[in-house]
């Protein structure tokens, strides 16, 4: 069973004149954690729907656990998939535990799991309350619980942490990490990239329905050619010496009287540190490689650059290289 849980080849999806997805090639290996990033409308949800067999692609082939997801055979295979949709609103007069049991029956999972799962997601006491009284965070937790029913081999999560408080987000991450330790494959989309920067094996950036980048965080950092930022604390009189020491290896930008920021290519930063470190006037040195947020801002393009973090906006002209 080395069949890739998800394999997409040359996927395109058009709604009339609107192109939601174009030329998407993506293979997710067993046990891999793939994060999907892109602004709203970039095609993330459409991609999920295709993988779940809710929407047929206009062209290209999809296979999930070796079968096309909209085929008859795939209906049975869905027991191995856990899905958490974006903005799911459980409503009605059933209690949390009743609703979870309903989903367990549909998935043909032993009902005994339900109580434990509710406990795990922090809804132990609320399980006997009616779902319509739940807050957004509680509904999201219930969504997480139903996703984990039957220990699925593939988890698909659409914006799982949106609208959650930091505590719940941490709990969320650890539950997903637990499943991953157990060997589950994970496909997740999120705006809160920081949440998954370290956990994700690979990250895919979607922009206007196209994959603009896909790779590990290191690969993406290199490909984006975003500068490493070095913040040096030193008195104003040392600034000239600093500029002279780094020469043309880095761009020097004073922050305030006490600090200077150096922007340099990733492969240069060690050499620069050596020179900066040799200067007597230097107080502290802080190195910050580009965060996922910066890379994301870089790939989503200048037209969405309003949220770009400092240090990323000025390299936009560098072009979009694919790894």
């Amino acid at each position: 069973m080395t069949e890739a849980p998800v394999r997409l080849e040359k996927i395109a999806k058009r709604y009339g004149a609107v192109t939601a997805l174009e030329d998407v090639d993506l293979t997710i290996e067993p046990g891999e954690f793939m994060a999907l990033a892109g602004h709203n409308g970039a095609g993330k949800t459409t991609l999920f729907k295709i993988i779940l067999g809710l929407v047929r692609p206009s062209s290209g082939t999809v296979s999930v656990f070796g079968a096309p997801p909209h085929s008859k055979r795939a209906v049975g295979l869905r027991s191995a998939i856990g899905f958490l949709p974006e903005n799911v609103t459980f409503a009605g007069n059933l209690t949390g535990i009743e609703l979870l049991r309903y989903y367990a029956r549909l998935k043909r999972v032993p009902l005994g799991q339900c109580t434990d799962l509710l406990e795990q997601v922090g809804l132990g006491d609320a399980g006997r309350r009616r779902v319509k009284t739940y807050s957004k965070g509680m509904r999201q937790r219930l969504g997480l619980a139903q996703m984990l029913l039957g220990e699925p081999k593939l988890l698909v999560l659409d914006e799982p942490t949106s609208g959650l408080d930091p505590d719940a987000r941490r709990q969320f991450r650890s539950l997903i990490e637990e499943r991953r330790q157990a060997g589950a494959t994970i496909l997740l989309s999120s705006h809160a990239l920081v949440d998954f920067e370290e956990a994700a094996d690979r990250i895919t950036f979607l922009r206007e329905g196209r994959m603009v980048a896909c790779g590990t965080i290191d690969e993406l950092r290199r490909a984006s050619a975003l500068p490493v930022r070095i913040r040096v604390k030193a008195g104003p009189d040392a600034h000239a010496a600093l500029a002279k020491a780094v020469g043309d290896m880095a761009e020097v930008r004073p922050v305030n009287g006490q600090s200077v920021e150096l922007f340099c290519a990733p492969d240069k930063h060690v050499a620069i540190l050596r020179r900066v470190g040799a200067l007597e006037a230097v107080d502290t040195v802080e190195v910050r490689p580009p965060h996922l947020e910066d890379i994301y801002a870089h790939y989503r393009g200048p037209d969405h650059g309003d949220g770009a973090r400092d240090g990323a906006g000025d390299i936009e002209s560098d072009g979009r290289t694919r790894p």
């Binding site: 869905r78 009605g92 043909r108």
Partner: protein, 275 residues
């Protein structure tokens, strides 16, 4: 098939919990009892049994009420889940789309059937046991209760179809009310108008009963008012000549078609719907 039962079971449980079952049963029982006692006064003068009188008044009421209840109960079934985002979730489960359609329909129909059976059944018992009534009165009454359930099911099927095709909950609700108006009020008036204008030239009197088969509410009316001699006397339909009669089993068959066809269409439309 297991999934169908699970989905139907959830609808029933939800119906019990939000008191739909209780409310519907009470409304049907209260109206049936009221009609039974109000209507039983003149029974002696026309020599119709009390139960037969009740059949006439109650079936006339059911024609308005049952389709309305059925449509209100069902329009939200799939459209509502689509709007809340739970439909997407449900479809990611090992459940076929037709199972969702069938499960929702069966759950809602079970609620309707229960309410009809208890509400009308209790009335039947009260009337049958307290008033002078020949044994012959029971057959039309039981047939009325049974066909009421079929009528409810037919409109539940129509409502499920609406819910499966509508893009939004509000649209489904509007369509449901529109269909109710059409089948319960507009259809008969339109038919009457056409017949009056036609003055028996192209549409013969033998055709009319068949035209009524195009409307489940009319099938129900026709079945209950013309099938049993005792009832049709009281309903004023005794003059209806044999030639324009349709055999009662055929009418029941037509009602069943009105259940199966919309349901099949709903499954088909839902299968093709892209979400």
């Amino acid at each position: 098939m297991n999934a169908v039962v699970t989905i139907a079971g959830r609808e029933i449980r939800e119906g019990v919990r939000n008191r739909w079952v209780l409310a519907t049963t009470l409304v049907l029982a209260a109206l049936a009892l009221t009609l039974a006692f109000l209507g039983s006064t003149p029974a002696g003068t026309v020599k119709a049994s009390a139960l037969a009188v009740t059949v006439v008044s109650l079936s006339s009421l059911s024609i308005f009420l049952l389709p309305l209840i059925a449509l209100i109960l069902t329009f939200d079934g799939i459209a509502g889940e689509a709007e809340r985002g739970t439909l997407l979730l449900l479809l990611s489960y090992p459940v076929a789309r037709w199972q969702i359609v069938l499960g929702k329909f069966l759950g809602h129909t079970a609620i309707l059937a229960f309410a009809t059976l208890v509400g009308y059944g209790a009335t039947g018992l009260v009337v049958g046991l307290t008033q002078e009534s020949g044994a012959g009165g029971w057959a039309p009454y039981l047939a009325m209760v049974g066909s009421s359930i079929l009528l409810g099911a037919a409109f539940a099927a129509v409502g499920t179809l609406v819910s499966a095709v509508a893009r939004e909950r509000a649209v489904a609700g509007g369509l449901g009310i529109g269909l109710w108006l059409f089948f319960v009020i507009v259809f008969d008036m339109a038919l009457l108008g056409i017949l009056a204008a036609d003055t028996n030239q192209t549409i013969g009197s033998a055709t009319v009963p068949w035209l009524l088969m195009l409307n489940p509410a009319d099938i129900y009316r026709f079945f209950n008012l013309a099938s049993f001699g005792d009832v049709s006397t009281f309903a004023g339909l005794a003059g209806l000549s044999e030639s324009v009669r349709i055999a009662p089993p055929a009418m029941l068959g037509a009602l069943v078609v009105w259940i199966v066809a919309p349901l099949g269409l709903a499954a088909l439309a839902f299968q093709r719907r892209s979400l």
